[in-house]
């Protein structure tokens, strides 16, 4: 029961953040891919940096352990990403933003959106045993994080990542490194 309540509350804040970032709109998503609005990238990178600045020090202090880290199997991660990008640029949503947008009252997201995700889930689940194992067996590193893989100090890795994000934000906001909307 406790975990369900936690999940519900965290989900609400997650959906709320997606709504306030404007990511529940087609325009916002597709304009990231047109490189005229960099909000998606800024939103994602900020979230990554804030979370890793929290969880890595907490782990170093021995206060938490990491949950199962998403597995790295290069072919599947890349091919999945490539197909995902096509769907995201065509439809202008992803699973999370579709659900949050559905909550905003968008019937286009409630009906064909949610139904499509369910149909996709059924198709994947029914074909999984033939599709997944061959793809996942190529260059499979398992549940691994970059600091362990490259044998660098995790806190240093987080600091480097945070600095890279700040440079990226500087280039976008101050140097205007994005396309201007026509």
């Amino acid at each position: 029961m406790y975990t369900y309540i936690v999940a519900l509350v965290l989900g609400v804040f997650f959906g709320f953040a997606l709504n306030k970032a404007g990511l529940t709109r087609y325009t916002k998503i597709v304009n990231q891919f047109r490189l005229t609005d960099m909000a998606v990238l800024k939103f994602m990178m900020t979230a990554l940096v804030v979370t890793m600045l929290g969880v890595y020090p907490l782990r170093a202090l021995g206060l938490i352990t990491f949950p199962t880290v998403p597995a790295t199997y290069i072919l599947g991660n890349v091919v999945g990403g490539l197909v995902f990008g096509v769907g995201m640029a065509l439809a202008g949503f992803c699973p999370g933003t579709c659900v949050a947008g559905a909550g905003e009252g968008k019937l286009d997201y409630i009906v064909p959106g949610l139904l499509g995700f369910l149909v996709g889930a059924i198709l994947y689940g029914l074909t999984y045993q033939w599709v997944f194992p061959p793809i996942a067996s190529v260059a499979n590193y398992g549940s691994v994080v970059i600091p362990d893989l490259w044998n660098v100090n995790p806190i240093l890795a987080v600091i480097v990542f945070a600095c890279m994000a700040l440079v990226l934000f500087y280039l976008i906001d101050r140097m205007g490194m994005h396309r201007k909307q026509a």
């Binding site: 994602m44 999945g80 699973p95 949050a100 909550g103 286009d108 996709g120 994947y124």
Partner: protein, 177 residues
């Protein structure tokens, strides 16, 4: 307090502010439940539930029994939360409304026929969910949740997603890209 209420009523925040909020949610997810955020996984659990109710034999496979077990899981409750979070956001800015075809730019890209939008969203959603299955997660469960733990998988996924997303937008928009 006035400032706080003003921010709450704003329709759109700076992506940095909204991203920081998500970052805090990310930390709390790990600390409070030792789990990760995600969205596509919940659909798999629900799909298994429906499937087992309608065609138990077909859905009695490794995937729906063990990989993504059918049922009301943590991920499903998370999806319910995301739905109400979107609703709360819309109410806070007074933008909640049952509506269709509410995006002006969509019409310049695809025209104004609602059936086209529904067909495209349906097809796009199938593609997204299937791709998320292959990749091991979607924007939430892999790109954000994996990225925040510095999993290489997340950055491979993000690279692929941006490469093909930009190409697709280029094809859809052509000269207007």
């Amino acid at each position: 307090m006035n400032w706080f209420m003003k921010q709450l009523r704003k329709e759109e925040w700076s992506p940095y502010a909204a991203g920081a909020l998500l970052g805090i949610v990310g930390i709390l997810t790990v600390v409070l439940s030792n789990k990760l955020l995600g969205a596509s996984g919940g659909f798999e659990n629900i799909a298994g539930l429906f499937g087992k109710a309608i065609a138990p034999a077909a859905f009695n496979n490794t995937y729906f029994n063990f990989v993504m077990p059918a049922g009301i899981t943590y991920s499903v409750i998370l999806l319910v939360g995301i739905f109400f979070g979107g609703m709360l956001g819309a109410f806070s800015s007074g933008t909640f409304k049952l509506r269709t075809m509410d995006d002006a730019q969509w019409k310049t890209a695809y025209g104004s026929q609602p059936w086209k939008r529904w067909a495209m969203l349906f097809f796009g959603a199938i593609l997204l969910e299937y791709a998320a299955g292959i990749a091991g997660g979607c924007t939430s469960g892999l790109a954000i949740s994996g990225g925040m733990l510095l999993a290489p998988a997340a950055f491979l996924f993000i690279g692929g997603m941006f490469a093909s997303g930009i190409l697709t937008a280029l094809v859809v928009y052509g000269k207007r890209f």
